[in-house]
Subunit: 366 residues, 2 copies
């Protein structure tokens, strides 16, 4: 396996010193920033995530900040989700689409105030799209990337650990809500959210210089909880059906194909750039859609789309796959044509190591 | 050193099979795609590049295609370089700026026809900015990423090798011009260009399926020329003063700070989005600028900005650095305040391994 070359262009994070001291073994690059992928082994990290608590450097979830009188209008231009009912202190998962209805990102949006939002982005330079629209429409809005770096605390012991560092009030934060908490005199947004199904928080660390002090505080406070440096876990996120932009969906796909129709209110999302393009698919439904897929046998790492084949015809593709210790099969995420997307449908998946049998599941594993 | 994790999101290229068979040892990620950084060793690759010929997988230079009646207008909106004199068959190096005059990319633009262009991009999702502007201004233009993957042939033997595969007509291609050549029945643009100072070509390979056949044809035809798989070489590109977007310049910098004022005709580039913001700096000049910098002693890999200090004050930063075998010093690229940018000025550079002496050079090394 090739190593990752050092350069400033692949940005370090405020937590990179901690990540390295913890013995990171694998990295990916996400939003032109380092994102750890493995510490001990993916399987060890997986079991630990499900039983203890981990601190994740997810600074690569960069923020796009919108601020000004037209911020709310611009936010609604970005997404077919109806934002009229959203209140400060709420997080919304947001399909972001272009004028053709193609997915540009699937971030979490945070409403800070009536005229101020953060968009906590997946892996694409959404900033450039938002800036382009704001400029083209001559909107009165500032669009920028602030010095905010998310640090996630995930796992069954996350609440206990967070309460020790930020006080018992963090226990009251509801799912996909956030509040403001003090660390070393700096106020930081803390949300009940994160890219796992094990529960936990994301701390929007304000100021690069506050990164390592908070990292150390969490590690110190969680020693008896077996806290460990961690990262989004490939196996666990597939089991939980957590999609990955760039893997499981791209600009080619509509939100409805990605199973995100429930986050779209295309009729009422007035102003959304992709609204016209999505009205028909919102009404009639997509012709292919994301499915949980179980794959038999041994499989290699999934570093490219694997064709799904039935009777010699391509009927979809798998884009994320890993062997699950807890479920005794290879868990996978794929896009499947409607002719073959019903639960129980069997077909072939063509991996670089050969053909394997695969079956559509009725839902994700957890 | 950590390895790079496999995932579809970090895209393979049409040439990845060849790169792997050639024993790639290091990768970076560039435009969410794999870019090799080292094959034998950076020093061996360097000497070979300067003496023989290499084939580079630079598919990560993705193309943004503009096509339609408003394509030329949109192109001029992107850059302070005056494009009125540009003709089909020409390549232009283009500073691309936002409404504040900040650099968004530094691609090579290819004019295919009066109403059709390719922008061969550096490391940012320029597509999203261009699409945002096109939508905001309701321009009649298609903006998309075609299935075009550049393959570079670089080194003193590049012309000989290319003539064997594409015919002697490639010898007549002038610097930063391109022509159309046939490979296996497919017409491909070939430009005299590339990210080295050793001379060579970039082939805009049309169609993923044509990647490996062309790779093999070049390797086969160049066997007696000692052709080898290669990649942009860190040392050689610093010696030659080839800037790297994301390393040596970011959205924080104007073209003039990057020493790219010679590519700007801010007065006459009517329609450029950043024109207003750049008029003053174009007239008065920047207060900091890119310089060639020599650094004494041993240095670590440069994976973050290294502060330049004089009398306890920060007067700039180094963003690319490597030990040069041919020039017997560490060659570096940095941004230096005007108080310290004259050739011969000495100051300190603070690397993670300690303080080193550094001196401004009057020009780059080759």
């Amino acid at each position: 396996m090739a190593t990752i070359a050092p350069s400033r262009r692949v940005r370090r994070t405020p937590f990179s010193d901690g990540v390295e001291a913890a013995g990171v073994k694998g990295y990916t690059v996400y939003n032109r920033m380092l994102l750890p992928t493995v510490f001990r082994s993916i399987v060890e990290d997986y079991h630990h995530l499900k039983s203890a608590v981990q601190v994740w450097d997810v600074a690569c979830e960069r923020q796009v900040e919108l601020r000004g009188p037209d911020a709310a209008r611009l936010m609604q231009m970005l997404t077919p989700r109806d934002l009229r009912g959203m209140l400060p202190g709420q997080c919304f998962y947001l399909p972001i689409v272009d004028e053709t209805g193609g997915m540009l990102n699937d971030p979490v949006g945070l409403m800070l105030a009536d005229d101020r939002w953060w968009i906590s982005i997946a892996d694409s330079d959404l900033l450039l799209w938002v800036k382009g629209l704001a400029y083209g429409y001559r909107l009165d809005v500032l669009v920028d990337e602030p010095d905010i770096s998310p640090l996630a605390v995930q796992g069954p012991q996350a609440e206990t650990l967070m309460a020790r560092v930020f006080g018992d009030a963090v226990r009251a934060i509801r799912f996909f809500r956030f509040g403001w908490f003090d660390f070393n005199g700096v106020s930081m947004a803390i949300a009940r959210s994160g890219y796992s199904k094990q529960g936990g928080y994301e701390i929007y660390v304000d100021g690069t210089q506050n990164g390592m002090p908070l990292w150390h505080a969490l590690m110190e406070a969680g020693r008896d909880l077996d806290v460990h440096a961690g990262c989004p876990n490939l196996i666990e996120r597939i089991e939980g059906g957590l999609l990955s932009y760039g893997n499981d969906m791209t600009r080619e796909n509509t939100p409805h194909e990605c199973g995100l129709g429930k986050f779209c209110s295309t009729q009422t999302a007035i102003g959304c750039v992709g609204r016209d393009a999505l009205l028909r698919v919102a009404k009639e439904g997509p012709t292919q859609q994301i499915r949980a897929i179980a794959i038999d046998g041994d499989i290699p790492p999934c570093d490219r789309a694997w064709p799904l084949m039935a009777k010699g015809k391509r009927i979809g593709q798998v884009t994320s796959a890993a062997k699950s210790p807890d479920f005794g099969t290879n868990v996978a995420i794929g896009m499947v044509r409607m002719t073959h997307w019903d639960a129980g449908t069997a077909f072939e998946v063509h991996t670089p190591d050969g053909v394997r049998a695969a079956t559509v599941q009725d839902k994700f594993w957890l």
